[in-house]
Symmetry: C2
Subunit: 155 residues, 2 copies
DNA sequence: TTATATGCAAACGCTTTGCATCACG
DNA sequence: CGTGATGCAAAGCGTTTGCATATAA
């Protein structure tokens, strides 16, 4: 995601008001490369003196999530984060632990695995949540070359 | 889980002190049928006038989690909960949305799916988190018989 | 014009921490 | 005994809410 257009469009398409603050949040979200927390956006807004309040940012993020252009995920740390994503089809995310980049992956056999789980356990699976954490191709390469930006994920 | 023994044992085996408050938390956890929140335990402790402080309960739950006899999961709502679980082998949980029961499932082909994801995307997957939500056999049966405890998941 | 959205600040719920005291081993 | 564990209360976060005001449609 590079443009805030999809986010802005989603608001209009759903019949919500296209307000200044919402455009601002859409911009800030679009400017992110990968996942981000609500606080990232709040700080960015404050640093740029955009005059958008915390509450409004939370409300906008909620709205985007409801419109399926954003998804709320749980990091291994237990923290909540958001990732931009295409609406429509079912998918999951891989989050890069080095640079924070995110990519979407489709089902890839998970459906079959769940079928099997149901058959073997007698449980009915309604929803599932799969989150993958690892390294994007760039960061993998960087590691292999021994350049190693950061050992893990501290600032 | 019906006995607090495994929890208590885990403490001793790991060389931590087997204190009164920790035994209490172990009891309260063992008394739970499925998942529970830290708050559930805190309230239970208070209701029974067991004189165990909040902080101690959080510390005990952390300890159990560290010892792999408890696992912290994220509910679809985004809330944090704990589920009792066997240590050792890698596994996932299915949480019953009706009664809160939990069962463990082994890998079941997920490994292969991840292999494939890596091959197709070029990303390196380090860890993953899969949480399944649905209905246990009992609650499934109950629904089929039309007794229908709750229509969906409202109170 | 009028319902919707905003900003602020206060309230909230969950979790952690500082610190003096307590008790397991 | 001595160190690790506890309880309390206060602090810390992230997030939500009430309400008067501003604004998109």
């Amino acid at each position: 995601m590079t443009s805030s257009q999809p986010l802005v469009d989603a608001i209009g398409d759903a019949g919500y008001r296209l307000t200044g603050p919402r455009r601002v949040v859409a911009e800030l979200v679009a400017a992110r490369a990968g996942h981000f927390t609500a606080n990232d956006i709040i700080e960015a807004a404050r640093a740029l003196h955009l005059g958008v309040g915390r509450a409004t940012i939370f409300r906008a993020l909620d709205l985007f999530t409801e419109l399926d252009v954003l998804e709320r995920i749980d990091l291994p740390s237990g923290d909540h984060a958001y990732v931009p994503c295409e609406p429509q089809r079912h998918h999951h995310h891989i989050v890069c632990e080095d640079c924070g980049a995110v990519t979407e992956v489709e089902d890839l056999g998970l459906g079959a695995a769940i079928e099997q789980i149901q058959r073997r356990t007698g449980w009915q699976v309604e929803t599932h949540r799969l989150e993958l954490f690892g390294r994007c191709p760039d960061c993998t390469r960087r590691r292999l070359r021994g350049i190693d930006v950061t050992a893990s994920d501290e600032t």
